[in-house]
Amino acid sequence: MIPQEEFRKLNRVLIWGKGQTAEETATRLTLLGYEVLKINPDEQFQLLSIEGFAGDFQVTLQQTIPSLEKEGGMEMLERIWTEKFGAVVFAPELVSEGNFSDYQVAPTEKIITLEEMQKVLIPGLDEFHQGNHSFSALPTPASAGGRRIFAALKPASYVAFLVGLTTEGNVLDMAVTLSAALEIRKRFQSQISIFCRQVKVAGEGLERLYQACRDEGVLFFKFDQEGPALLRRGDEVVLQFEDTILKRPFILTPDLLVFDSRHLLSSEVRQTALSAGIGMDKSGFLQSANVHFLPQASEREGIFIAGPGKGPMLSQLSIEEARATALSVHHFFQGLTSETMNQEVSVDKGLCTLCLTCLRFCPHQAVGFTHRVFIHPLACRRCGICASECPMDAIQIEGYSDNEVEEKLMALQERGDKPEFSQPRIVVFGCQRSAGVAWEGAESSKLKAQSNLEFIPLPCAGKLDPDHVLKALSVGADGILVLACPEENCRSVHGNTYARERIMEIRKYMEEAGVNPGRIRFEHLSSNMEWYLKEIIKQFSETLEELSNPQSAIRNPKWKNGPH
C-alpha cells in the first residue's frame, strides 16, 4: 500500500481548453459534483507544467496581463502560480490557417477562407451538425467583410470552393463546404463548383447533404492528384483544370474563391502537451496513435484528451467526446479509493539503494521519491520496465515475481530430458495481454498440451528480464520465443519496443558467447492472432531442429541429449 501521506485525491479538475468540448465537459463534471476550473489556452494563459501524480497534480500556470502604459510601450504583468488538481482534461480547439500559400495567392475580397464563408453564412452550424439541416433566412451580416461577401453572391456569379486538395481533407471541412454551397444556392442562386479530391461523407446526414447539393445543381470536380492550376489574369484568378470524367480542359474565373484551411494545434497547447508528456500523433494532434488510449486517455493516467485537439471532427462528435470524457474522469475518481489502490508494483525498501534507475526509466512518470522510492499505483501502467532495470531486483510485480518465474524454469530442468521430447523445447515469454490471450485461445489447437512448450506470462513485454532468458537457456531450452504486442499497440506504450531492444542486446551477447542467436526469436502478436501463434511456433521449431542438426554450424552448448 502506498502510504497515506503520499496518496491524496483532490476532487478538482482542470479543463485546459475552450469551445464546445471544453464547455460541455465542464458542465457535465460540475453536475457530477466536481470543482472545475476551465482555462482558455491563449496568449494570456499558459500552462507551464504538470507535476505529481494522478489524483494529486501540481499544475503551474502563468498569466500575462498587459497593464500600466509606460514610456515605450506596455508593461506586462506576469503571474506564475501553482494549483492542485486531481485530474486534467485537455480540450483545446484547433486554430485554422487559410491554405492560400499552397496556391501562391493572397487573400483578397474575392479570395476568402471557408471559415469566413461559414461565419457569414451559417451561424447555426452547430445546430446543423446536430441534425437540423434547414435554416431560416439569415440577416445580412453586420461586418463590412461579411457584407462584401454577400455582395459577391448574385445569381449570375460563380463561386468556387477548393477543399481537401493540398491536404488530405476532412469530414468537417466537407460538411461546412456542402452546407455553405447549399445555402448559397438556395438564397442567392449563384453557380457553385466544388473542387476536391474526396467527398468526405463519413458523418451523419452528410451523404444526403452531398445529394442535396447535387440536386441544387452544385458541380463537383474531383481530382486524383493535382487540383486545378491557378493563373492570375489581372485582378482575376483563373482556375485551369481537366475534368476527370470528360478528360477535357476547362477554365473557370470565379467571382468568389473559397479556400479550406489547415487545422492545427495552437503552439501554446502543443508546447504544454509536450512538456506534460501526454502524447501526440505524427501529424501533431493530441493523443498518441495507439488504440489503447481510445477513447479519451493520454499517456499519463489522470490526464484526459477530448475533442478536436485530436484532429478535426464534427461538433456532434465533440459533444459525444465531452460527455464520454466526463464519465471517464468520474470513473477515474471513483477508482481512486484505498481499496482499489492496490500496489501491484512495489519496491522492497530493504533492497532499494535509492539509485533512481527506475525513476529515469519509467516512461509514465509513475515513480516518485521522498525519503524512499514509491510507485504510484494509478500512474503506473505495469510495463515492468523499472523492475527489469532495477540493479537490485528491488521491484516486484504482483503475480509475476522473479521467484515464480525461476521456479517455473527450474521445474523445466527437473522434467529433464524425457524421451517424449521429440521436438525442440521452447520457452515462450509473452505479454499476458496479447500473447497470453492468444495462448489461452490456442487451447483448442492443443498448443498448450504440447509438453515441449512452456509459456511464461509477463504483465507486459517490458517485464522481460534478460536473466530469465539466459536462465531458460541454461536449464535446457532449445529456443526462446518472446512475444509482444504489435508496434504502436502496447498498452503500456513502450513495453514492446523495450523488449525488442533487449532481445537484440541478448542476441549480440549470445553471438559473442558462441551461441547461435537464432535460438532467440522476437515476434509481435496481438490477442486475436491465434493462427499466427501456431505458425510462429511451427516455424521456430523447424529452425531449432535445423540448428540442432550436428551438421549445423553452432550447437547450443547447454543442450544435452538432443531432440532426436
Binding site: Q198, V201, G203, N290, L294, E320, H331, Q432, S526
Partner: protein, 371 residues
C-alpha cells in the same frame, strides 16, 4: 462458444469454452438498466454503468458476447494499423471484472412495454424464459452487414471467387492468409469494390457506412505486407478519412495499391475461375474488362434486423436511413437510450465513445427522472 472467465491471479480473461454466466451474480430484481445487445457498444456501456454502481442486465441473443467484432482479424503489418479490433478483448476483460452486471446469452426479449417510466419485459432462452423490469433501456443491438446477394450484378454466392469484406475478415482471422475459395491458392490479383450496398439510394441506403474504406484499405495493406507480389486494385468513389495520421497512412497505401475512381458494372466468370470486372477505364473514355483472381465486395453497415420489433413495441421512429436516431427527444425522455451502430454506421472506436456518452446520459437520467 466464445465465453470468458477471470483468472484471479493474472486479472486477465481467457477465452474458453465455458459458461460465462456462472461467474456472475444473478441479481435481476435490483437491476436498473436493461441493455439489449452484447456487442462492443453494449459491453462498454455495461462496464461504464457498473463502475457507477448501477446494476445492469445485459441480454444477448447470440451464444457469445462481442457482436460482429470477433469475426475480424488483426490488421497489424510491421506495426499496428489501428483497426481497434483487439479493443474487444480489453472490454471483455473489464466486463469480467465488473460487479453487478448480469449477462444472459442466447436470450431474446419477447415482449417489451413501457409503463409509467418502467420497462417490463419478458424473455425467452433455451429451456425457459422469464420476465424482468428496468428503469432505463439501452439498445445496443448493432447492425446487419449488407447482403451482397442484393447486388446481383456482382454474382456473390454464384462465383466462388467473389467474397465480401466480412468473408475476408473471417479468413484472415482464422487462417492468417487469403486464398481463392475455388482452389485454395494465393491470389495474384485482387480487386476491392467499395460502397457495395452503401451510398445507394436505389437500395434505400442513402448513407456512407464509414467503416468499409477503413477495413478494406487496412486489409489490402495487410495482404500486400504478407505477399508483396499480389496486385491490388481498389474501385471507389471517395475514400473516407479514418484513424490517426490518416494522410501518412494514405501516402503509404497509395504507393502499393492502385486506386480507380469508378464502380464496376458487373462481375463475370472467366477461365480458371477468375473474375472479370467491367468498369470505366482510368482514361475515362471507355469501359474495359480486367480479370482478377479474387474480388472483394466492401459491404457496409445496414440497419439491424430487430429494429422493427423495438419500433413497434416502443413506438420509436426510424430515421430516413432506417436506423434509430437520437435527434428525436422522445427517446431520452422515456428512458430509452442508444449506443453503437444501432444509431447509424460507425466503427469500434466510435461505438466505444458513444457507449460512454450514453452511459453518462443514463446515469444522469436515473438521477433526475420523475419517480
Amino acid at each position: 462458444m466464445v465465453v470468458e472467465i477471470r483468472n484471479p491471479k493474472f486479472k486477465s480473461i481467457f477465452i474458453l469454452n465455458h459458461n460465462f454466466e456462472h461467474n456472475l451474480k444473478v441479481n435481476s430484481k435490483n437491476s436498473k438498466v436493461l441493455i439489449i445487445g452484447g456487442g462492443i457498444a453494449g459491453i462498454t456501456a455495461a462496464v461504464a454503468l457498473s463502475r457507477l454502481k448501477i446494476a445492469v442486465t445485459l441480454i444477448e441473443k447470440a451464444t457469445a458476447l462481442g457482436g460482429m467484432v470477433p469475426n475480424y482479424c488483426c490488421k497489424a503489418t510491421d506495426a499496428c494499423q489501428q483497426c481497434g479490433v483487439c479493443l474487444l478483448n480489453d472490454s471483455l476483460q473489464a466486463l469480467s471484472q465488473a460487479s453487478n452486471v448480469e449477462v444472459h446469452l442466447q436470450t431474446e426479449v419477447t415482449d417489451l412495454t413501457l409503463d409509467a417510466n418502467k420497462f417490463l419485459y419478458t424473455f425467452s432462452r433455451p429451456g425457459g424464459g422469464g420476465e424482468g423490469r428496468a428503469e432505463a433501456l439501452l439498445l445496443a443491438t448493432g447492425f446487419t452487414p449488407f447482403r451482397a446477394e442484393d447486388k446481383p450484378q456482382y454474382r456473390y454466392g454464384i462465383l466462388p471467387n467473389v467474397i465480401t469484406g466480412l468473408d475476408l475478415e473471417r479468413q484472415l482471422k482464422e487462417t492468417g492468409s487469403v486464398v481463392r475459395p475455388s482452389n485454395h491458392t494465393l491470389p495474384t490479383s485482387i480487386a476491392f469494390i467499395q460502397c457495395v450496398g452503401s451510398r445507394d439510394p436505389h437500395l434505400n441506403h442513402p448513407f456512407c457506412s464509414r467503416v468499409c474504406c477503413a477495413y478494406a484499405l487496412r486489409m489490402a495493406n495487410l495482404i500486400k505486407y504478407k505477399n508483396p507480389q499480389t496486385e491490388i486494385a481498389v474501385f471507389y468513389m471517395d475514400i473516407q478519412t479514418f484513424g490517426k495520421d490518416f494522410s501518412l497512412f494514405m501516402e503509404k497505401t497509395e504507393k502499393q495499391i492502385r486506386f480507380i475512381r469508378t464502380i464496376p458494372g458487373e462481375i463475370q466468370k472467366g477461365d480458371n475461375d477468375q473474375v472479370w470486372l467491367t468498369f470505366q477505364d482510368d482514361d475515362g473514355l471507355s469501359s474495359r474488362k480486367q480479370a482478377f483472381d479474387l474480388a472483394i465486395l466492401s459491404v457496409g453497415i445496414m440497419p439491424g434486423s430487430d429494429l422493427e420489433f423495438f419500433k413497434d413495441k416502443l413506438g420509436l421512429p426510424l430515421n430516413g436511413d432506417g436506423f434509430l436516431s437520437e435527434a428525436n427527444e422522445i427517446f431520452s425522455s422515456k428512458g430509452i437510450f442508444l449506443a453503437g451502430t444501432v444509431r447509424g454506421p460507425k466503427g469500434i472506436a466510435g461505438s466505444i465513445t458513444q457507449a460512454y456518452r450514453t452511459a453518462e446520459e443514463v446515469a444522469a437520467y436515473l438521477k433526475t427522472r420523475p419517480v
